[in-house]
Each structure stands twice: as structure tokens, then as C-alpha cells.
Symmetry: C4
């Protein structure tokens, strides 16, 4: 490994480049991660900000994430490998995301998690700032939202003067702890982080978490809302999420046709 410092990435590269030659992630995984970046942008989940990572398929103590750039423009060459402490392994001096610690600390705390999306989608942010409000599953496509997603108030971990960014391991660990059995956490005044067991599933969840928030915001303006029961949520996760290939194929086609 390498020590943290003012320029950890370039140092990390020198130490790790040799050690990791035999453990390159599968080309298929990289391709999927690139496609996911394009889909999340095309579906409006991320704009120039927000990111998706996947756990390295050969080394569970590593994850893959684009360098610091707009998701819509990510290609295979832009994917960087990170340690779970958020240190870049092969950035080669390229800038990396300030909030990579979200991903590393979740992979540390949740060995079951394979992929992570952090975003600021349009209905999640307003929901995150209403006092006492919690995102809760309202329709069958979003069973994974469950019975009230926790809200991460960064002031509890970082005080009243942060920039709201999860920009170090301490804050990342505090966020990871908030999951507490849930698969999505809202971040007050910031957005959300959602986890999944594959790239395709976590993309599906990020898209439908936004829709769940949108529907919940609209419905709560008109009266009392019927949420899914815990058993309905669980059944929806089991049965509906088996269909993720269908939207994935369509979203990818759309993202690529709109790009050209």
C-alpha cells in the first residue's frame, strides 16, 4: 500500500503498478461500468456530477471508478482502480473524484455490495431537506427503498461547517454506517447513495429511486399515502429486480443513439 499525503495518487502508482499486473479486471466489467456511466447521465440520474463504482472482480479489496470527469464522457481508458481507502492505484497523475471515499468505505463495511451509485437526482435532493421526511417505497419498481431510507446528516459526523462532501475516510465510514441493513441512504442537502449486487442492478435502483422520490413528493402534497408493506417491498425486490436486463438494454440503446 501507500501512505496518504498531498499527492497520494502518483505515489500509489509507483508502488502498485508492478504488484497488480496479473489482476486486471475483466474487460466485460469495465465495459459495463462505462455503459452505466452513459446510462445514468442519459436517464438524468447524474449531470456533470455523481459517480458509479464496481468492486474489482479479481480483488475484493479494490474498486473501479472513473477519474474526475463528467459521467457522460467516460470511456474504458478513464477507469481507475482504487484501494478501499480511496487511494488510486493507477491514476497516473490524473485527477480523481473528491468523494471516492463513499465507495471505498461502503465496500469495506458491506462485503456483500458489488456496485455503488452516488448522485444528486432531481427529486431526491428536495426530499432530503424536508425535516422529518423519509424516502419510502411507494411502488413496485422500488421495493429496495424499503420502509424509510436513513438520512445522513453530515453535521453529526463533520460539524456545521463542512462543504457537505464526503471527502475523507472518516466521513465515508460515517455514511457507510448509516446503511444499517438498508440499500439506499439519503444525504441531507446533497443527494443519495444506493448499493446493489451488480452494475446493472445498481443502475436500475438509482433510476427508480428517483422515480419513487418524485411520486412520493407528489402524493404527499395531496393526502395520506399508502406505502408498500415490508413484505411487499421484499417480494418486489425478489421478483421485479429479476427483470433488470430489460431496461438496461433499452437504456443503453437510448443513451448511445442520443449521443451520436
Amino acid at each position: 500500500m501507500c501512505r496518504s499525503g498531498t499527492n497520494p495518487d502518483s505515489i500509489a502508482v509507483e508502488i502498485d503498478d508492478t504488484a497488480d499486473v496479473s489482476a486486471a479486471p475483466s474487460a466485460e466489467l469495465i465495459k459495463e461500468l462505462v455503459a452505466a456511466n452513459q446510462i445514468l447521465f442519459d436517464q438524468g440520474v447524474v449531470d456533470a456530477f455523481g459517480h458509479i463504482s464496481v468492486r474489482h472482480d479479481k480483488r475484493p479489496d479494490r474498486f473501479l471508478l472513473a477519474r474526475n470527469m463528467a459521467p457522460s464522457r467516460v470511456t474504458a481508458e478513464d477507469i481507475v482502480e482504487f484501494t478501499l481507502d480511496g487511494e488510486a492505484v493507477n491514476a497516473n497523475g490524473r485527477r480523481v473524484y473528491l468523494e471516492r471515499f463513499i465507495h471505498g468505505e461502503i465496500y469495506k463495511a458491506r462485503p456483500d455490495v458489488v456496485a455503488v451509485v452516488h448522485s444528486h437526482s432531481h427529486s431526491i435532493v428536495p426530499l432530503s431537506i424536508v425535516k422529518g421526511m423519509r424516502l419510502q417505497a411507494v411502488f413496485h419498481m422500488a421495493g429496495f427503498v424499503g420502509q424509510g431510507a436513513p438520512v445522513f446528516e453530515i453535521r453529526e459526523a463533520g460539524g456545521d461547517a463542512t462543504d457537505l462532501l464526503v471527502s475523507n475516510n472518516m466521513l465515508g465510514a460515517a455514511l457507510a454506517k448509516h446503511f444499517d441493513g438498508h440499500d439506499i441512504v439519503l444525504m441531507r442537502g446533497h443527494g443519495s447513495t444506493v448499493v446493489g449486487y451488480s452494475v446493472k442492478q445498481v443502475v436500475y435502483r438509482a433510476v427508480y429511486a428517483e422515480l419513487n422520490a418524485r411520486y412520493q413528493l407528489q402524493a404527499m402534497q395531496l393526502g395520506e399515502v399508502t406505502f408498500l408493506t415490508p413484505e411487499e417491498s421484499a417480494a418486489c425486490v425478489r421478483n421485479v429486480e429479476g427483470q433488470v436486463q430489460r431496461p438496461w438494454d433499452m437504456w443503453l440503446e437510448q443513451a448511445r443513439s442520443r449521443r451520436n
Copy 2:
């Protein structure tokens, strides 16, 4: 016929392929159904989920529905024939929609119905989860919505632990019974199902049901709403729905130009 089982489709094919040679649906009907899939996607009524069927023009005990796929990508080759029990006649091993029972049971219960759309459009879902709320006709394009569309609460038929999907004939029949003289039923936490007397009409209705929901949601936030009278609703159905060719032509042109 064929028995239900773990792989009913492939069995169905062996039995029925011979029997039905002389009764192929008209090519025009298939073409219309394919166009309808593209329009419903382009108009935002369906995303990767949702489906439209039409009753077979030669055999009223059969209906036509795409195989399990995103509506935007459906072609004539993807249309599968089903019995009213939801058994595929010529799927040839292709996967079919879990919720085909919605269609079959409605065609059984409503001999007048020629076409059915099931969707999760953006303003219908929030309306479906507000306790005590009913979709009701608010403007002249949506007279068919009438004086308060019934809401199908799947818990009454399937208990508190379903995945909300209408995935068997019992649930399909329960839904079909809810129509009770209406042409649209909302499904709590799920979406809606709308019926019509032609493919073009049911597409028109699915588009304008969504708009009716959107306007109703907006208006009810500001005060008491004037709904159509029953007589106004009936007059709108008689006179406005005679115009369905006009939007159909335009929507088809739009869907095709945006696709290429």
C-alpha cells in the same frame, strides 16, 4: 389447450402450432400493434415496462401481445398469440410478460373490449397511492375516465405480501372485475389498465389518462375542482374520440423520426 407448468410456452407451441395455421391475425393488425408499442414509449406512457394487447381479429378467444421486452423495440416478429388464460400459443420458447393475465382476464370478462394497455405512467402512480383519491375526468380529452375510476387494491385479492404484479389468472380476474362498467382502473402502487374498442383508441386513452391525472394532481393542490358531469363525459367520449386518427398519425410520425 395445454397445462400450466414451469414451461408452459414451449408446450403450448407444440400443441397449437398446427391447429392455428388458418387463423393468422391480419398483417394490418400486427402492424398497428407494433406502432402502438412505439407510440406508447415515445409519448412516455411506458418505459421499459408496460404493455399493450389486442384481441385476435379472427379468434375472439385469443389475444396478441409482445414477448417479454421493452415496448420501444417491438417488431412484428415479437408479437405472440395467447389464449385468454394467458398461455402462449407460439412463443417458441421466448420469454413472455409476467402480467399477461391482466389482458386475458379482461378479454374474458369484457367481450366488448378489443384492446388493453397496462402502464405505470408518471402521474397515475402518485394518484394511485393517495388514500381516498380517485382519478376523475377533468377535461374534454379524457371523458372516458368518467366519474371516478376504481382503484384495485391487490391486498384484497392477494394479501399483504404480494409483489403487486398481476401474475396469475386469479389476480387478473380480480382486476377485471374492478372495471365494473368503467374503462380504466388504477392499481395502487403500480399503475393503471385502460381498455378500448380499437388499438388506436386505447393508445389515445392511455396518453390522455396520464394527462388527466397530471392536471388533476396540480389542480387539487390549489382548491376545489370542477369535474366533468356524467353527461359531459359521455358526450366527450362520443365526439372527441372520433378524432383518434389525428393524434395517431402525428404520434407515429414523431415516434419514428425520434427513433432514427
Copy 3:
């Protein structure tokens, strides 16, 4: 002239075709009306329904309006001439809009009016159905909305069982009377009709009436609203509407580039 009847258009053609040879409208006016159709569609003011007319530049007792079709597809060949009673002069058997009487009766009642748009735009409809609500100018682009647009309740003129359409001269005259010094009238459960002194101005007004409605709906959900004073409205009409060429040029460019 010609008598009303089951097929007035074809009769009208036979009588009027000769009489009008020397009074063709200017090609420029036709071109402008075609462009207006495309802009209104591209800006979302009309969908497959809604229409725009202009008073004939050579004969103030005639107006020009497309035949019954989606506005987005109108070309110069589709423009039909009508008497102020809504009788087609040169339809040559082509179908015409059911609601042409809106236009004719306004041109009769308001000799100052040069152009009329009737539409069902997305924020106007909900505003039209909230009891006691009136559209009122909230920003400088929509001074013409003034101090509370009248709402036309068709039940007062046509009873409780109409299809809400202004489908004869009696209803058209009742609507025209509602203007009463205003330049826009909302139609309950239907949409609005706006008038102007040129094609470009009325298109501008139809676009910004929709925006005024949208902003007013949003603001009224949060508290008491500051509307424009009558003097501010008048000053905005005088000064801002002098700029209509600027949006016109841009909208036309957009409409044409999105069409190809």
C-alpha cells in the same frame, strides 16, 4: 354565402370559388401562419389538437385556418379560407376543425383582432378547473394576461351535457362575449383562447400565457402572490411585446431543426 347543413364545405366551395379569385391572401401571410403552426407545436402549446387562425389581409370578413389536422404537419396547401360564420370557402371536401366557430365569432365581435390561438396547454387546463381561480399576470412577459382572465363556463351557454367543444356559432358568440376587453379567456375543463394583432404576437402570447399559468400555479402553492398592477401590465404590453420578432426567429429555427 351558403346555407349551413350536413356538408356545408363542399357547397361553400362551389359558390365562392369564382367570387374570390382576385382576393387571395398574401403568400407571406400564409407562410407566417404555417410557421406559427409549427412553432406552437414545437413549443408545446398545442399537441395534435389546438389551432391558430389569422384574419384575411384582403377581406376582413374572412379568416384563414388549417384543415382538420395536427398543427405540426400543416403546409401552405392545408390552409382553408372561412367566412366569419365558420363556413369553408375552399375546403374542396377536406374536413375542417369542429371548433372553427371560436375564430369566426371572435373576428366578428372584435374588429381589432387579427389572429387567434385556441389551445389546451399543460398549465392552463388545471388552472381552468380550480373553482374561483383566475389566471392573472405574474411576470413581465405576460402583461397581456392582465388583472384576471375571464373563465368561460360552457354550461352557462350550452347546459350540463355538452362535449365542451365550441362547435357552433351560438357557443362561439358566447365565448367571444366573455373577452369583454381582455385578450385571453380560459375555458373550464378545456383550455384557452388568446387574441392578438398579428400572427407573431398571438404566438408569443400563447407561449407566455402557458408560462404565466405555470408560475402562478407553483407560486400559489407556497403563499400569497404579488401580481402585476394594471399599470405594470399595460407597460409590459407596450414595451415587451415590441420584441416579438426575437423569439419568433428563434422558435422557427428550433421548430425546423427539430423537424428534420
Copy 4:
């Protein structure tokens, strides 16, 4: 200099053209300003109305602004130089924006300001007309909004009968005074003006001010809102606005691809 009058622009040209030969702004700055016009349109911050200026890089007593035209169509040839009194230096008879005084008076009052955007974006206008409401920072991308943006009520400076436009230096100075340490001012029934220290930063701010307004409007309908603390706002400005190049590159790519 030149005197104000009925046709100040052409007069200004005659006097200033010789004097300024050696002080042309850098080509890079012009290019950036043209790109900013295209981005602001493509991102929906401006429509045919609204404008962006930048202070002249060689002469702090001058600023650059497009001639009177839709922002989406601006090219390098359309950029005009103005004195801080809003007099055109090289308009060569081309029409200029009625509200150029917004820009000049801000550059006078705030020597630190390098760029100014004035716009009527869709969530800012409704927020500006709700009595007692103030735009306040609700998420980390909009720290610059701070603890409640001032609202400019033009009636205080111009009386109850203006057209709401800031069409002379007196009104421009009154607006500039409202900034009072803030970087954005809302204008009742009109829009907003936001300032920054570079073209890229002010474009970023105009985009995210609109999003902040949108989220705040949605959240306030549902309950009490948690705003950023003053320290959080300041930290967000310091750290998040360092990233402006990332959205700029993406927005420019989008604007250009959607244009062709």
C-alpha cells in the same frame, strides 16, 4: 464618451472607434462569452430573452455583451463593447439590449465582479412573486445563494407603473445596490441577476441557482426545510466551485451537439 439620446449607439461608435483600436478584448474571452450564450440556452436558463456579459479584460471600465438577439444564435461577430453607463462603443447601428444597464451598474458598484447573467429561469420567477419568500441555499452545488437572496422590488425605485425592465442607469444602480454582499438578487415578477468572477463560474451559478429554486419550491410544499448554514455555504463555494470546468466542458459539448 458620448451623450445619451434617442440614438446613443451610433453616436458612441463615431467617437470611440478610433480611441479603442489598441484595446481589443482577447479572442479567448469572446469565444468563452459566445459559448456561454449557447450553454445558457441549452441548459434552459435563458430562452429568447436573458443575457450574459463579461468585464473587458483590457479595460475594467468596459464590458462585453451581445447585441439584441436570442442567446442561442450569438456568434463572435455579435459581441458589442459597452461603457459602464451602458453606452455601446461599437454597435455600428445594431440594436442593443434594453436592460444593458443591469450589467454596467453592477460592474460600477462591484469592482470584484467579472461576469453577470440576467435571466428568467423557470423556478426563479415563481419564487420571486411569493410574498416574504427568499431564495436560500439548500444544497451543496448552490452555496453561493447563501442565507437568503435579496429581492429587488422595482416599485421601490420606479413606482407602480414600470414595465419591470431595468432600462436605465437609475434602475440599474438601484438593482446593483441590492446585492449588498450577496452574489444573486431576485427581481420580483421578472427573474434574477447573478454575478461571478469568471464567465465559467457565473454560468455554473446561473444553472445551479435555478436548481436550488426548484428544489426549494418542492421541499417547502412538504414541510420545514433544512438550509445550509452560513459556514456550509462558504465551504461549498470554496470547494465545489473549483470544479466548474467539469460541467462547462460537458455543457458545451451538449449545446453544440444539440445545435447541429
